[in-house]
């Protein structure tokens, strides 16, 4: 009688381990407390513009045993970007700038992650610092782009279930996008005077694992 019980316990244990290991698909979504937000900053001699976008969608696959293989895709609709000035926003969507009618979305395809530091010191929490490698699609032009990222991964627990079911993942990313490289020329000589030649982007992404 003992042997089948042990076998059952062992099977259950191994089964649980198998379920929690391996790649997990994380789907971005907002909760009351944690929101997906992108903040972009143009720092030009004549003006500093701070804008936001909140309609971010995306999924990525992450395996804590092989974080380097993390991959996924994130999308921001151009028309969800706002800068605090409605007239400037409409200029931003124009053909001279982001051409929102022709190129509705800005996309980042994450291909891999170069891990610099992993911290497992807190039980149930894994923090990974590294550089994301991927392709950034803006204004019809796709260019390779590296982003500094910090991924905080929380295993599902009684505490996390109060927020959402599944494992919780918070990603903080920072990168810079050169406008010229993506064919965004702007009107006249505005780029370099009123709009920065590069736009600094800070993204905060929140998601939950779908495999639960």
């Amino acid at each position: 009688m003992k042997t089948p019980t042990l076998a059952l316990v062992a099977t259950l244990f191994i089964g649980t381990t198998v379920v929690s290991a391996g790649p997990k698909t994380v789907i971005l979504g907002n909760t009351e407390k944690y929101k997906n937000e992108v903040r972009f900053v143009s720092d030009a001699p004549l003006e500093k513009i701070v804008g936001t976008a909140k309609e971010i969608s995306g999924t990525f696959s992450i395996d804590l045993q092989n974080v380097g293989a993390t991959s996924g895709s994130f999308t921001v609709p151009v028309r969800s970007m706002v800068t605090g000035s409605s007239s400037r926003d409409s200029h931003m969507y124009d053909t001279d700038w982001l051409d929102a009618d022709a190129y509705k979305n800005i996309t980042y395809n994450l291909k891999s992650l170069v891990v610099e530091k992993t911290d497992n010191s807190t039980p149930g929490r894994t923090v990974v610092n590294g550089t994301a490698k991927g392709e950034f699609f803006l204004h019809g032009v796709s260019k390779p782009l590296d982003a500094k990222v910090k991924i905080t991964y929380l295993n599902e627990s009684a505490q996390t279930r109060g927020i959402a079911s599944g494992d919780l993942v918070l990603v903080n990313a920072e990168f810079s996008v050169p406008l010229k490289a993506h064919g965004v020329k702007g009107k006249g000589n505005i780029v370099g005077t009123k709009v920065g030649e590069s736009i600094t982007i800070n993204a905060q992404l929140f998601g939950t694992s779908a495999d639960h």
Partner: protein, 103 residues
């Protein structure tokens, strides 16, 4: 009429600069170009994630800019218009005085 133009021009300058200064104070920064919403970023250390979590809030409103050269014009072009009225009024006063001296 000349004096009305001068007073009107002066009032336009005072109101435009006053409104711009007041809006800068309300916005908490120098407003170079007119803004229709204010984005505020707050960052707090989240105990669950053990890292900073940011949230942005957007306050709708109207803050007059300084340099807008198209509608809605900024305070500086409005002051330029006010200054032009003062100038036209002053020229009229001057020409009237000259005419009076000649007569």
């Amino acid at each position: 009429m000349a004096n009305i133009l001068r007073v009107l021009g002066f009032l336009i300058i005072v109101v435009a600069l006053g409104r711009w200064g007041y809006d800068c104070q309300r916005y908490g920064d120098t407003v170079y170009y007119t803004k229709t919403s204010k984005i505020t970023v707050t960052s707090t250390v989240d105990p669950l994630f053990g890292t900073a979590v940011e949230s942005t809030t957007t306050e709708q409103g109207y803050w007059l800019g300084l340099l807008d050269s198209a509608f809605p014009f900024g305070a500086l072009p409005i002051c330029g218009f006010g200054g032009a009225l003062v100038l036209v009024g002053s020229l009229q006063v001057r020409s009237r005085r000259k005419k009076g001296l000649r007569d």
